[in-house]
Symmetry: C2
Subunit: 294 residues, 2 copies
DNA sequence: ACAAAAGTGTTAAACTTACACCCATGC
DNA sequence: GCATGGGTGTAAGTTTAACACTTTTGT
């Protein structure tokens, strides 16, 4: 009997269904930058980092807020599932959409054995068309605040443990969700590992506080490398817009002259101008697609 | 009826089994640095990047080589599953072990709907105790060669497409496995995406050529940031050892004086010396666990 | 003695950081 | 006119890159 024949026979008789299997969900942290209205005609509107959450219509965690997501269908990849969810919730089909992490803690979902392959999506807030989806769930942008509240370092023999307590606040009008997440880094001679634990969670469903914390750390660590900042902006933008995106995500002020020198090679000046503001009009730029390393 | 009661009732009546579910495999790219014997007593032994592969004992892909891996059990997280596999194959329980990517292409496994959550593991080659595991599969270190063979750039309106063809060779004695993988980067104003495709594959099971290519790119991109290089070395090492790890992974020569200045803060000098070589003995160093950013 | 690697010093160029200053607009 | 943001220049400090040179060992 040929090898091909044997393999075929094996596959025909193989039944994968005898093993217990988990369900796979994809959850997406969809971020955008939105502007608050500014009453002073001179001042620029304040930009804020926002995250899209959906109020759960059913059990479990009924009426609490969760990341958009859903179960993986047998006809699609996790990327396709994430793109489908993103499109359903925001009607945006072209966006930065990137795999982030698999969350598989036992008991993370009371419905059973469910793994989450999480994604991070960055979209231009103007382009998103957020509305209640067909299942009547409310989708809402929440302003994000994520701050280090406490840090401690423990020196053991051959090992250092760094614990950092972060407080996450998500605000929309008079609604405020909160989570306290502890990040634990363990560094030894042979390996290092990082883990997150939810200490407190108010108004957030499942382990989504943890996923959101992970996404925010991921954003901060990756905003400088790739072109992620551009994905949060429209096609044409001012250098101040771009700088503010960096400042919001890094939660840190940057010097104008230095920032401009640094990103000079990544943008292309256009002959368009931003007009109508109570100050000198600024040039509009677009991203330079041609960047050597990427 | 209280909300808690309702939630409980819901969960009791909820049956997740009605949806079709995939199996979850964890596959690990286990890397180590091994030395080739050197006949010239003066010369240092050549270090090489090695990858652990297992010959498949059964169908499908019988007798072909695959990444160590297995199915996720309902009692463990994907990290625990990966650690279990690593321990089974190498008897190493403390190592750098990190989630990499989820591969979910339809048809990636002829046995059915199987997703792979892939990991990357870095171990000190000396510590690994590789032997045929209980299921009598052969586990073997393969020397890795991964080179860019062709690159092309396509300029469209509002979009740039960069295609890079990589050739992967895996050698052990007179065995040679090969794969050609195309990396495709698409960069537009609104998003950028990167995908890999297997063009040719000889001797490698499943889509593992793709996973290996992904792992090697991941290694190259991350070796500078974190302390990954140290995880490939024993506790005490010479600065030349460390430099060679960088050189092997980046596939690029570095200047000695400059390298030493760059990593000066990350290592601690010990009073131990490497002796017995046909040249001036070198000081042994160990890693400095205390690094500001991590 | 000498091959091989260990290890250090010097310089120019590049990039980062901090700060000072002028410009243009709408009200 | 003036508040606000747009935009540029310069000098000090730091890091990188390239190269030259000295030191120490085992055989």
């Amino acid at each position: 009997m040929s090898t091909e024949k044997k393999e075929k026979d094996f596959l025909n008789s193989y039944s994968i269904s005898k093993y217990e299997k988990p369900s796979i969900a994809t959850d997406i942290a969809i971020f955008s930058i939105l502007e608050e209205v500014e009453e002073n005609y001179r001042k620029l509107p304040q930009k804020k980092l926002n995250l899209l959450l959906i109020r759960r219509g059913g059990y479990p965690y009924k009426d609490m807020w969760a990341l958009p997501g859903g179960f993986l269908e047998p006809t699609e990849t996790v990327e396709e599932a994430a793109a489908r969810e993103l499109k359903e919730e925001t009607n945006v089909s072209e966006a930065h959409l990137e795999q982030m992490h698999v969350f598989s803690d036992l008991g993370r979902d009371p419905r059973g054995w469910i793994l989450s392959t999480s994604f991070i999506a960055l979209i231009d807030g103007q382009k998103a068309d957020v509305k209640s989806s067909d299942d009547a769930a409310e989708a809402t942008w929440f302003q994000v605040s994520f701050k280090l509240a406490k840090a401690e370092k423990e020196y053991n023999e051959d090992k250092i443990i760094v614990k950092s307590l972060y407080k996450l606040y998500l605000k929309h009008q008079d609604m405020e969700l909160m989570a306290e997440i502890e990040e634990r880094k363990e560094i030894s001679n042979y390996h290092e590992q990082i883990s997150y634990q939810i200490l407190k969670s108010e108004g957030l469903a499942f382990d989504h506080g943890k996923i959101i914390a992970y996404a925010l750390q991921y954003l901060r660590q990756h905003i400088e490398n790739a072109h992620m900042a551009f994905d949060l902006l429209p096609e044409y933008f001012t250098l101040t817009d771009l700088q503010q995106v960096y400042e919001i995500i890094l939660d840190k002020e940057l010097l104008v002259a230095n920032f401009r020198r640094k990103i000079a090679g990544r943008v292309i000046e256009t002959n368009k101008n931003q007009e109508g503001a109570g100050h000198r009009p600024s040039k509009l730029y677009k991203r330079n697609l041609e960047v050597d390393n990427l």
